[in-house]
Symmetry: C2
Subunit: 114 residues, 2 copies
C-alpha cells in the first residue's frame, strides 16, 4: 500500500491530477508567479528568488517540467524557463467547465431550506 492506484482511473483524470499535484506546493506556485511577473522568459535567476537551497529549487523546477507546466531552454551555461501554455489550457478548460456547471445548479444544491 501507499502508492496511488492510477490504474483505476481514466487517463484524463490521472493527467489532471498530475498537473494539479505539480502546482500543489507553494514553492512551485512561487516559481510560476515569478515566470508570470517577468516580461519575458526567465534565464538563470530563479534560484535567487526562492527561499530554498539550489538543489531544492532544481528539484521543484524538474517537477514542473515533468508535468509539462514549464519549458526549459539551455542558453549557454544557464537555462531559460517559461510557462507552457498548452498544459494550462487543459486545466483552465476543466475549471471553466466546472464554473459553468456549478453556476447552473447553484441555487438548488446542498443547503436547501428543508
Amino acid at each position: 500500500m501507499g502508492a496511488t492506484k492510477t490504474e483505476h482511473f481514466t487517463h484524463r483524470q490521472n493527467h489532471l491530477a498530475v498537473l494539479a499535484k505539480a502546482l500543489g506546493h507553494p514553492a512551485r506556485i512561487a516559481i510560476m508567479d515569478y515566470l508570470l511577473k517577468a516580461d519575458a522568459c526567465i534565464c538563470g535567476d530563479i534560484v535567487n528568488e526562492l527561499p530554498l537551497a539550489q538543489p531544492t529549487v532544481s528539484q521543484h523546477l524538474k517537477e514542473l517540467k515533468n508535468a509539462g507546466l514549464i519549458k526549459g531552454n539551455t542558453e549557454g551555461n544557464s537555462i531559460c524557463y517559461c510557462i507552457n501554455e498548452k498544459a494550462f489550457q487543459q486545466l483552465q478548460s476543466w475549471f471553466t467547465n466546472i464554473s459553468a456547471k456549478t453556476a447552473v445548479k447553484r441555487s438548488q444544491c446542498c443547503y436547501p431550506l428543508k
Copy 2:
C-alpha cells in the same frame, strides 16, 4: 527536514498550493467529476462510484473538504456533497490570469531562433 516550508511563502501562494494539492490525486479528480456529472448535489453514493475502500474514499472527501473545494451537508444518516464554487473561482481567476499573460509574450518567449 522533509516538511514544506510554508512560512517562507505568501498566504496567497500557500492557499493556491493547498487547493492544487487537494486536486492532485486522481481519486479526488474523479470525485469532482462525479459531483459535476450529477444534476444536483450527491447524497451518499460516492463510495460506490470509486474503486477504493470506504475509509480511503472518506479520507479523500475529507481532504477536499478541508481544502474548501467541496461542501458536505448531513442529511439523515447520509451526507450530501457538492462543489464549493468560491474555492474554484480563486483557482480559475489565477488560471485566467496566466493564460492572458502567456498569450501576450507567446511569440517572444523561450525558443528564439538564435
